[in-house]
């Protein structure tokens, strides 16, 4: 909340688009602005009406450099936009830096996402320190088509204006916490000596030498990857991380997605009855990759690029103690770490038994 709690005293807010960026078609700018306002209208009793003349509560403009509001822009990148808290005159106004490249897609910088953030300020929100929130101060690459207003922002705006008049109150995604012992990862993989723990739109990145994992948006590293990834594993021989969602899979080489992907999982040799992979892990000692699907697993030979004969097999028969569905699995120091429900099982490949049961978040360094 902005210090002093400035809010609009009325709920029928007006806006006016004073000028347009040449980067986008006018209709696309109009659509981005309207969608950005709807982000807030959907979760509050506020309404937004467009004015074509006169002074609106929220005056929207594109300007470069010094634009006479004591807050000059700074050329490409750096400062992207700013907006003023509710009030008379310049209050509520939103300015976008014309030196940026504004887009309607996922490339930098998406006008809808930026405008939705700025209008949060126009309505009285300050910056959030929740890295998953819309009101976080730095721009993150996210897919504008998948955007849902996070719960942190809903809580903020509703504390100022109350709940939506809609009988069903909207809810939004939350940012996973490093200390949540009940966290269920979508997938876990290694990447060049680091560990990646994937969860919804995010992943935690953990380096063995640093005690605490860092949280990042998946899209910040790999813009064309989807969220809610279902399985992942690293093949260090190929220096690739394979990422699975539904019937598609991608190969990553560092920050790059390998050309020719996504591919269909059936090209790996799965029958068409397999619609998705729950977990995958590469066994360095054998050069085989295990794919877990339901309560069964498959073995894939990375050198011949073929599925081994005699599979699928029941997971519990070859991995005693791992009876439930496997959500994620990775290998470290000769052990396989199975994430199944709320628990993590340290499985010794040598003695073929579970050595320890751990909390799911044991690798993340919660203090």
């Amino acid at each position: 909340i902005t210090p002093g709690n400035p809010v609009w005293k009325h709920t029928e807010i007006t806006y006016r688009i004073l000028n347009y960026t040449p980067d986008m078609a006018k209709a696309d700018v109009d659509a981005a602005i309207q969608r950005a306002l709807n982000v807030w209208a959907d979760v509050t009793p506020l309404t937004f009406t467009r004015l074509y003349e006169g002074t609106a509560d929220i005056q929207i403009s594109f300007a470069a450099g010094d634009h006479r509001d004591n807050s000059p822009f700074d050329g490409p990148d750096g400062l992207l936009a700013h907006a003023f808290e509710p009030g008379r005159g310049i209050g509520g106004d939103a300015h976008f830096d014309e030196d940026e490249r504004w887009t309607k897609g996922s490339e930098r910088y998406n006008l809808f996402l930026m405008a939705a953030h700025e209008f949060g300020h126009s309505l009285g929100l300050s910056h959030s320190n929740d890295p998953g929130a819309l009101m976080y101060p730095t721009y993150s690459s996210t897919d504008p088509d998948e955007f849902r207003l996070p719960q942190d922002d809903i809580n903020g705006i509703q504390s100022l204006y109350g709940e939506s008049k809609n009988p069903v109150q909207p809810t939004g995604p939350t940012t996973p916490s490093i200390c949540d012992t009940k966290v269920i990862f979508d997938a876990v993989a290694t990447l060049r000596g680091e560990m990646l723990f994937l969860k919804e739109r995010f992943f935690w990145r953990r380096h063995a030498q640093y005690p605490e994992a860092e949280l990042h948006f998946i899209k910040s590293f790999w813009p064309s990857l989807p969220s809610d990834i279902e399985a992942a594993y690293e093949n260090p021989e190929q220096d690739e991380v394979l990422i699975f969602k539904g019937s598609k899979y991608w190969a990553l080489n560092g920050y790059d997605i390998v050309q020719g992907y996504p591919k269909n999982i059936h090209t790996l040799g799965f029958p068409t009855t397999v619609k998705k992979i729950d977990a995958a892990v590469y066994n360095e000692e054998t050069g085989k990759t295990f794919f877990f699907v339901g309560n069964q697993y498959w073995s894939y030979d990375e050198s011949t690029r073929t599925m081994d004969q005699g599979f699928p097999k029941e997971t519990i028969n070859d991995f005693p103690g791992i009876g439930q569905k496997v959500h994620a699995v990775f290998q470290s120091n000769g052990f396989l770490y199975f994430f199944s429900g709320k628990y993590q099982f340290e499985f010794s490949m040598k003695s073929k038994r579970v050595m320890r049961v751990l909390r799911n978040n044991s690798w993340l360094g919660c203090q």
Binding site: T2, P3, N70, G78, L80, H82, R108, P131
Partner: protein, 83 residues
């Protein structure tokens, strides 16, 4: 890892960090401050910034802090002055 630190680049890092903290955290380099055992206004503001972004709070300028400072962002710099 850099082979050796470049004093010129360190100086410009500090200048950039100072400009950032002035803009977004109200660092006032004009005022005279009483010297405190625990540090300077610069490191206090740096701590504030590090805490906000969930970085390790050291009050010292490190590469991770600089990286966050260099990310493109919303520049609501003068809301306090405006209000």
């Amino acid at each position: 890892f850099p082979a050796a630190s470049d004093p010129d680049s360190e100086e410009s890092d500090i200048q950039r960090a100072e400009a950032y903290l002035k803009r977004f955290y109200g660092l006032d380099t004009e005022k005279k401050h009483f010297t405190r055992k625990n540090g300077s206004p610069f490191s206090e503001k740096l701590r504030e910034m590090q805490e906000f972004f969930g970085l390790e709070v050291t009050g010292r300028l490190d590469s991770e802090t600089l990286e966050v400072m260099e990310k493109p962002r919303c520049g609501v710099s003068d809301v306090a002055r405006y209000s």
